[in-house]
């Protein structure tokens, strides 16, 4: 058996190994004329495309031109120097999340969410929980095997704890948008302390906070299990829930 050595240095492939051919499209804020086409070639050159073939130019609206450029890039890619940041849990589809909960938890996974303190910005919690969701992804309500209770805005910590008890929450999701005088940090600490007081160690629900101004590395300091920052989608949260509550726990006990 011969071992094919992994190629370390590669170039883009058009129709011949090593030809370095790429295709790009972009718009310049210039009316379509010879100068605009020259500008497009210049940009392509600065992107490392040489020679650049301008194959398409089309005026759009007032003072804009759209270009398609083909050409050869002179850059090399060293695959041994590629660094990939791995997510520490696998991203699952809604179907997969439901299947894992159904098969391994054998009951609905209960999630309680709220905006706590005086924060009235439900944009974040609704994006994650509402069926409507965000960025084309459905929210957690859409997942058949999750039981979601969205308490809305301006929920007090005692009310949140009471609801989490009543719903036998597996996880508590808290959203904090307002950061005036570090309100998001104070509120989160108050919440995590109250939850620790209300449940015996090891029995408490998973604590997750999210918001645009959180630092994802502050979990220990805030006493929560996970922090989600700007741009988080419901699918990521659902995948994390399954990972933290089911798959990683199973793995630990096997």
């Amino acid at each position: 058996m011969t071992v094919v050595p992994e190629k370390q240095v590669v170039r883009p492939y058009g129709d011949t190994t090593g030809d370095g051919m790429v295709q790009v499209s972009f718009t310049l804020p210039l009316p379509h004329d010879k100068r605009a086409e020259g500008a497009a070639i210049q940009l392509a050159g600065k992107m490392g495309i040489d020679p650049a073939m301008l194959v398409h130019a089309r005026p759009m609206g007032d003072g804009f031109t759209f270009f398609v450029v083909y050409g050869r890039v002179n850059h090399l890619v060293d695959t041994s120097a590629v660094q990939v940041v791995e997510r520490d849990f696998p991203l699952l589809s809604a179907k997969e999340v439901n299947a894992v909960v159904k098969r391994q938890l054998r009951r609905k996974l209960s999630v309680v969410g709220a905006c706590i303190g005086t924060d009235a910005h439900t944009v974040g919690i609704d994006a994650i929980l509402n069926v409507k969701g965000i960025a084309g992804e459905k929210g957690l309500e859409y997942y058949r095997e999750l039981r979601v209770s969205n308490l809305g805005a301006q929920v007090s910590v005692p009310d949140l704890v009471a609801a989490a008890r009543a719903e036998r929450a597996d996880a508590v999701l808290v959203s904090q948008v307002v950061t005036q005088r570090d309100a998001h940090l104070h509120n989160t600490r108050e919440m995590s302390a109250a939850v620790r007081e209300a449940w015996p160690a090891g029995k408490r629900p998973l604590l997750i906070v999210g918001g645009p101004r959180f630092d994802e590395a502050m979990t220990a300091e805030l006493g929560v299990d996970r922090i989600f920052a700007r741009g988080t989608t419901p699918g990521e949260v659902a995948s994390y829930l399954v990972h933290a509550l089911i798959t990683s726990r199973k793995a630990a006990t096997v």
């Binding site: 609704d126 409507k132 859409y142």
Partner: protein, 520 residues
């Protein structure tokens, strides 16, 4: 149009009858309840404007003050106009300010005082309705002057920068590039605000707040574009969420042309209380009917959550219910932009034929409605080349089945908010298909007894079966038990329930009286 699907007229009539049976108890509910937002809409028609220094609209302050003193069940019109007379004021906004300061007490007057308050309220609201009438006449005049788009479907494009002053040049550019209708997407979460923000706004999340001032600015800009282009460019926004009635009133006052207004969307997708939604919906549709606004319903949403083949009949059921509620509220067929979408997984064999069957079914069930045809979103993967092809097929189905309003699909759906070039490429796609195959509808006659006819019959049968199941319980129970989509929405849960009140015996709403054509 000629009948291409050979639908069984008895089954079609049965479907409508069942939709009416399912909807009638809901209409009864809507006729016997009011909501904070209905009452705020009445005050807006009566001329109350502006907001307090914290940005809370005066209509909210006033309705809250009345509700605190005498409850909501009498309607706010009589207590407000009674207080106005007692305080010897002429301006209701001034009364709202005094009420917010706590210096006015509201009562439910009797006898002569009650009669006078009713008369005053009716006069004020009638002035607002007259303004809506004038705006409708103005639209009709402008359409005559500038003309309607030369083709059907109308081309519908979205702008969504979050900043009204960025939206305006983008909307004007889109109109120049061929858009017949511009929709300004609202900021994420506006549907769950229980008030309408005030003034021109420059920061929204993935959309621009719907406010009266933003409506006015955008309509004025598109009037300019209409003049320039020699074709009336329509403006669209959303009458949905907790402020549905007020949005409808503001749209009427500012001459918006189309409003997204679905009967069940807020319940299923936003967890808004079902009763709140149906009460708000009926009032908003009465306003739309009067204002000559075309509503767009939201059936496309069902297909983004459920499978577009398995659940095709839920679209038909929802269209039938939306039609029933719309007719009941006084909307004419030409005002019903019933929704549906091209969302079948392209990997399903014969997916295009299935799409044609579904689209043609909607066309033949609602021959006089300007159907709203929504582009693929669920199976747009980021492969922009494949996406552009899919959009081309979507456009082709739209042309072949005579859709009324075509929302232009973007190949960068699910990648970025559309770039200038994305929009241009998408419009080229539409223009190519409509130019090359705009008349193909004439030649497109599905084979008798063939795949397309059979599929359409099957979907209609499933829709009738579902409506039969709904009819056995009631629409509210069906929604509570998760019949539509997978969401269970019981009537005693959901947002906005605390803003619902049953009518007292002396409930008075001058707007409903005028809109229903009743005398004083």
């Amino acid at each position: 149009m000629t009948r291409k699907l050979d639908l069984d007229p008895v089954l079609v009539a049965r479907a409508r009858e069942l939709a009416a049976r399912a909807g009638a108890p809901v209409v009864e509910l809507a006729r016997s309840h009011t909501t904070v937002s209905v009452e705020r809409a009445v005050l807006r028609l009566a001329g109350v404007q502006g907001a307090d220094p914290d940005g809370i609209p005066w209509v909210n302050r006033l309705v809250d003050a009345v509700a605190a003193d005498v409850g909501l069940g009498h309607g706010v019109a009589v207590p407000v106009f009674d207080a106005l007379a007692r305080e010897q004021l002429v301006d209701v906004t001034l009364l709202a300010q005094k009420a917010a300061a706590g210096s006015v007490r509201f009562e439910v007057p009797a006898g002569r005082a009650a009669t006078a308050a009713r008369r005053g309220a009716r006069r004020a609201v009638a002035a607002g309705v007259r303004r809506v009438d004038r705006r409708r006449a103005e639209r009709e005049r402008l359409v005559r002057r500038f003309g309607d788009p030369p083709q059907r479907p109308w081309i519908y494009l979205i702008v969504a920068t979050g900043d009204i002053y960025e939206d305006i040049p983008q909307a004007q550019a889109a109109a120049r590039a061929g858009a017949d209708a511009i929709a300004v997407i609202r900021s994420t979460g506006q549907s769950l605000l229980d008030y309408v923000p005030e003034g021109a706004t420059r920061e929204g999340f993935a959309g621009t707040y719907a406010t009266q001032e933003n409506f006015r600015l955008m309509r004025a800009a598109l009037d300019e574009s209409s003049r320039e282009l020699g074709r009336y460019v329509r403006l669209t926004n959303y009458a949905s969420g907790l402020c549905m009635p007020e949005m409808a009133a503001l749209a009427g006052l500012e001459r918006l042309d189309m409003m997204l207004n679905d009967s069940m969307y807020g319940i299923l997708f936003r967890d808004i209380n079902p009763i709140r939604t149906f009460v708000d919906q009926r009032f908003s549709r009465q306003v739309h009917a009067r204002a000559g606004i075309i509503i767009n319903t939201g059936e496309d949403n069902y297909l983004t959550t459920a499978d577009a083949v398995d659940e095709a009949h839920t679209v038909t059921v929802s269209q039938l219910l939306n039609e029933y509620f719309a007719h009941e509220a006084g909307l004419a067929d030409w005002q019903l932009g019933l929704g549906h979408a091209f969302e079948i997984n392209p990997d399903v064999p014969e997916s295009l034929r299935l799409e044609l069957a579904h689209a043609l079914l909607a066309r033949e069930l609602f021959p006089d409605a300007p159907l709203k045809w929504m582009p693929p979103t669920k199976h747009m993967t980021g492969d922009v080349f494949r996406g552009n092809l899919l959009d081309g097929f979507f456009n082709l189905v739209g042309a072949l089945t005579g859709q009324g309003i075509l929302l232009v699909g973007m190949m960068t759906e699910a990648v970025v908010t559309p770039w200038l070039s994305d929009r241009d490429i998408a419009l080229q796609n539409v223009r190519y298909v409509l130019g090359a195959a705009g008349g193909l509808r004439e030649d497109f006659v599905p084979a008798s007894g063939g795949f397309i006819q059979q599929r359409a019959h099957q979907v209609l049968r499933s829709a009738v079966e579902l409506l039969e199941r709904v009819g056995e319980q009631s629409l509210l129970t069906a929604i509570g038990e998760g019949t539509f989509g997978i969401m269970k929405r019981p009537a005693d849960r959901g947002r906005g329930l605390d803003g619902v009140a049953r009518h007292e015996g002396d409930y008075y709403n001058p707007a409903v009286q005028i809109l229903e054509g009743a005398g004083s």
